[in-house]
Symmetry: C2
Subunit: 518 residues, 2 copies
C-alpha cells in the first residue's frame, strides 16, 4: 500500500508542477493517467456494449410484435389524458383533490388485451364498492362503541376481513374470476376503515374513491377498446388454429423425414423443415397462455365473429387434446432421432452399404403405410384448423378425411401383420421378387432389432390417429356450442371445401411421390 | 292481469280480516302465501346449498394445506400492526398523515413465500425511489419553463416515461426481475409529476411516500420471515424431489401393471396404484410453478441448507429433463392402455383362452427384460431423488445403479434380437420346451401384431433410460454447483447408501417375484 500511495502523491504533485510548464516531468503521470483513462474507457465501452445489446433486444421485441409498441403508446396516452384531472381546475375540484386514484387506476388496470382490462376494471370497481360501504358501516359501529374501544373494533375487523379476503384468493373458483377484486377489497377496506379514525368526512372519502376509480376505469376501457384493440378471445382463437397447423406440419414432417432419411436431395431444405418439425413444442408449452386467454375472453363483449358467450372453455379442451397428440409426437420424434434408434440406424446403414436390401425393403414395406397414416392424419388436423379458423359449418370432407385416416390405419395394421412373412419367407405364396429379397433377409443380419424403430413408429402413429379422433370430437363440440356456420353463404362454402379436397389429394400424391423416391 | 290482481286484493283484505279471528276465510290466502313461502324457501335453501358447497370447498383448501390458513393470518396480522400508524398519534404525525401508503404497501406486497415478498418489496422501494426523484426533477424543469408550458412538459414526460416503462415490462430479461418495479415506477412517476401541478411541498410528498413504503415493506419482511416462513427455494427443492419420486413410481407401476395384467390377485390394490401411475402428470404440469419458484428463490437470503446464491436455475434444467421422461411415460401408458393396444390385448386374451401359450410366452420373454429395465431405471431416479433431498455428496451407488440400468437395457436389446427365433423356431438350437411352444406359435394366430405393443413398450423403455442419463447429468451438475456434501458426516452417509442399496435389491427381487407369477 505505502509505495503505491507515494507514487500517487508524486503524480498529484507533478501535475501541479505541470501547470508551470515543465512538461517533461509529466511522462510517468501521463503513463498512469492513460492507464486510468483506458480503464475508464474500457468500463464505458463495456457499459455501452451492454446498453447496445439491451437496446437491440428491446428493438427485436418491438419489431417482432409491433402491437406491443402500440400497447405502450396506449398506456402513455391514457395516462396523459387522466393527467387532465390535475391540469384543469374544474376537473380537479370536481373530484375533491382525489385525482390521484384515477391516475393509479389507469396505471394498474391497463393491460394489453381488452378482456384483461375489463376483468381488472370490473374487479376494481366492485371490490372498492363493496369494501367502501362495509368499511363505512364498520366505522359507524366502532364510533358508537366509545373512543377507547374504537381502535380495537377497527383493528379486529381489519384483521378478520383481511384474513378472510386473502383466504378467498386461494380458493380456485374465486381466484380465476375475482382474484384482483379480493385484493382491492382488502386494500380499500383497510384503507377506509383505519382512515375513519383520523378523517372526518369518511363517507365523502369513500364516495370520492369510488368515483375517481370509475373515471379511471372508464377511460381505460375507452382507450383499450377504441385504439387498435387486442381481444383475448381472438388471440386464443388464432393461437389454437396456429397450433393445429404446427401440429399437422410436425407430424407430417417427422414421418416424411424419417422415411426420406436414406433418400436423396432433402439437405437443401433441411433448415427450413427443422423449424417445422419443432412446431409441436409450441403446443406443449402453450397451456398457461391458453388458460389465461380463455379466462379473460369471457369478460369481452361481442366482437368480430365472437358472441359474448362464446364457448372459450371448449378451446381449452381442444388445446388439451392437441397436447395429448403432441406428447406422442415428442416420443415419435425421439424414437426417430435419438438413442433408442441410433444403433438401429447404424445397423440399417451398414445393411444398406453391404447392399443387403432386406432391411430397406422392410422399411419401405411399412413406410408406405406410415406415410399414408401420417399424411391423412395431418390432413384431418389441417381440415379441423380450417374449420375453426373460418368458423364455417363442419364440411363433409372432415368425415371423409377421418374415414381415409381410419382406412390408412387399417392398412398399416395389415402391413404390420404381414411382416413375419418377410422374416419367414416360406409362408409367402407366390410373390417372387419379395421372396428373393427375403431369402437374403433370413441371413442373420436381419433381426427384429432393425424392425424395432419402424414398428415403434407405426405403433405411435396409430396411437396419434386415435387421439386425433378425440380432437375431432372436441372441435365438433365447439362447432355445436358456438353455432358455427349460422350465417353461411352456401355456394362460397362448397367452393372452399372443394378446394380443400383437391389440396388434400395433391398433398397425398406428393407424399406418395416422395415415397417412390425412397 | 285483472283477475289476478283481484285475487291478490282479496287476499290482502282477507288477511286484514283474519286479524279479527275469521280464520276459515284464510284458506286461499294461505294457499298463495304458502306457495310464495315455498318459493322463497326454495330460493333460500338453494342459496344455502351453494354457500355450504362453497364453505366445504374452502374448508378443503384449508385442511389440504394448513400453511395457506397461516398465510391468511399473517396478512391480517401485518395489516393490524400497520394500522397502528393511524391509531397512535405520534406515529400518524410522524409520517405526515401519509400512513395510507404503508397500509397499501402491506396489502399489495404481502405474498405467500418469502422470495416473492422480498422481490416485491425490493422492486417497490427501488421503483418508488427512482421515479420519485425523477419526477421531482421533471417538475423543477417544468416549473422553470413558465406556467403556460408547464402542463405540456409534464404531460409529455408522463406520456414518454409511461410508454417506455410499459415497454420495458415486455422485455423478457426485465420482466423476470423488475416487472413489478417498472409498474411502480410508472405509478409513482405519474402520481408525483402531475401532483406537482397542485401540491406545493412536492419534495416532501415524494419523501413521505418513500418513507411510508419503506415502513410497510420492512413490516412485511419482518412478519413473513419471523412467523412460519415459507421459502420459495425450499418449496422448489421439495417439489423437484417429490416429482422425481412420482416419476419413478409411475414408470415402475406402469410396466409392472402391464406385465401383471394377465396375472392374478392385483385387483385389490388397483385403486391405490392407479393414483401412483398418474404421478407423471404432476411432472408434466409443474413447469410454470417451477419457473416462478426459481425466479423468487434467488431473492431469498441463506436459509436452511441453501446459500444465498444457490443454483436455482439448475433445478429448472432438472425439471425439464424430468418432463422429457414424463412425455415418454405418457406415450408408454397410452401404449399400454388405449386404442393402439386394445386390439392386441383382445388377440392376446383370445390366444390365452384357446390355451395357445405362444403369445404369453413372448410377453414373458420380453417381460423379464422390460421389468428389469423399468425397475433399474426407477431405482436410479429414486437414488437421484435421495441425493437431491439429502444434499449429500453423490453416493457411489448412483454409478452402480446407472451401470445396472445400462446392462438391463443391453439385456432387453438382446431379448429383442432373439424374438425372430420364436417366430421361426427352426433356428433355435436345443431348447426343447421353448421349441414345443413355438411350434404352436407358428400357427397363423401369432402374428407380429401381438408383438407390436410389447416391442413398442420395450423401445420406449430404452428411450426413457436414455433420457434418465440426461437427468443424472443434470443432478450431477447441481451437486457440483451447489457443492453438495461439503459438511458431510461420512459414517452417517455410508450407512444411508448401504440402506439404499439393500432397498434397491429388495425391490428388484420383488418385481422379479411378481414376474414369476405371470
Amino acid at each position: 500500500m505505502a509505495p503505491r500511495k507515494e507514487v500517487f502523491e508524486g503524480v498529484e504533485w507533478r501535475i501541479r508542477v505541470a501547470a508551470d510548464g515543465s512538461s517533461e516531468a509529466l511522462v510517468p503521470a501521463t503513463g498512469l493517467a492513460r492507464k486510468a483513462w483506458l480503464g475508464i474507457k474500457g468500463l464505458i465501452s463495456g457499459f455501452a456494449l451492454k446498453v447496445r445489446m439491451f437496446v437491440k433486444k428491446a428493438w427485436d421485441v418491438g419489431t417482432n410484435d409491433p402491437r406491443k409498441v402500440i400497447h405502450c403508446i396506449k398506456v402513455g396516452l391514457a395516462l396523459a389524458i387522466v393527467s387532465l384531472f390535475y391540469f384543469m381546475r374544474p376537473l380537479y375540484d370536481g373530484v375533491g383533490g382525489n385525482a390521484m386514484w384515477a391516475v393509479m387506476t389507469v396505471v394498474v388496470v391497463f393491460e394489453p388485451t381488452v378482456g384483461a382490462t375489463l376483468y381488472k376494471c370490473f374487479n376494481r370497481v366492485l371490490g372498492t364498492f363493496l369494501a367502501g360501504f362495509l368499511a363505512v358501516g364498520v366505522h359507524w359501529v366502532a364510533s358508537q362503541s366509545g373512543e377507547r374501544v374504537e381502535p380495537f373494533v377497527v383493528g379486529a375487523s381489519v384483521f378478520l376481513l383481511a384474513s378472510a379476503g386473502t383466504f378467498s384468493r386461494l380458493i380456485p373458483s374465486v381466484k380465476s374470476r375475482f382474484d384482483y377484486g379480493a385484493l382491492i377489497f382488502i386494500l380499500t377496506f383497510s384503507f377506509v376503515a383505519v382512515s375513519g379514525y383520523r378523517v372526518d368526512k369518511l363517507f365523502e372519502l369513500a364516495l370520492h374513491r369510488i368515483f375517481t376509480i370509475i373515471i379511471g376505469s372508464s377511460l381505460c376501457i375507452l382507450v383499450i377498446m377504441l385504439v387498435c384493440p387486442i381481444w383475448s378471445g381472438q388471440e386464443l382463437h388464432s393461437l389454437i388454429v396456429r397450433n393445429m397447423d404446427k401440429l399437422a406440419d410436425s407430424l407430417d414432417g417427422c414421418v416424411t423425414q424419417y422415411f426420406n432419411q436414406s433418400g436423396e436431395g432433402t439437405n437443401s431444405k433441411e433448415e427450413a423443415t427443422d423449424n417445422k418439425l419443432q412446431g409441436y413444442k409450441c403446443v406443449l408449452s402453450s397451456k398457461a397462455s391458453e388458460e389465461s386467454m380463455a379466462n379473460f375472453g369471457r369478460w369481452e363483449p361481442s366482437h368480430g365473429q365472437f358472441n359474448f358467450r362464446h364457448p372459450w372453455k371448449q378451446y381449452l379442451k381442444i388445446g388439451a387434446s392437441m397436447r395429448s397428440c403432441a406428447y406422442c409426437i415428442e416420443a415419435l420424434s425421439s424414437c426417430i432421432k435419438s438413442r433408442s434408434c441410433a444403433y438401429c440406424i447404424e445397423a440399417l446403414s451398414s445393411c444398406i452399404k453391404s447392399e443387403n436390401q432386406a432391411a430397406k425393403l422392410i422399411k419401405q414395406h411399412l413406410g408406405s403405410g406410415c406415410l399414408k397414416v401420417s399424411s391423412s392424419t395431418s390432413n384431418v388436423i389441417k381440415e379441423l384448423a380450417e374449420t375453426v379458423k373460418t368458423m364455417k359449418k363442419k364440411p363433409s370432407t372432415t368425415d371423409l378425411l377421418a374415414e381415409e385416416m381410419k382406412s390408412a390405419v387399417q392398412g398399416l395394421q395389415n402391413d404390420l401383420k404381414t411382416i413375419p412373412h418377410l422374416l419367414n419367407p416360406s409362408a409367402i405364396p407366390g410373390n417372387k421378387t419379395l421372396e428373393t429379397a427375403c431369402l437374403e433377409a433370413t441371413t442373420p443380419t436381419v433381426t427384429l432389432m432393425e424392425l424395432v424403430p419402424v414398428v415403434t413408429l407405426a405403433s405411435i402413429l396409430i396411437e396419434i390417429s386415435g387421439r386425433i379422433e378425440a380432437l375431432v370430437d372436441a372441435v365438433e363440440e365447439l362447432a355445436k356450442l358456438a353455432e358455427f356456420g349460422i350465417n353461411d353463404d352456401k355456394s362460397k362454402h362448397s367452393k372452399m371445401t372443394d378446394k380443400t379436397v383437391s389440396d388434400a389429394k395433391q398433398q397425398t400424391e406428393g407424399t406418395m411421390k416422395a415415397l417412390q423416391r425412397v
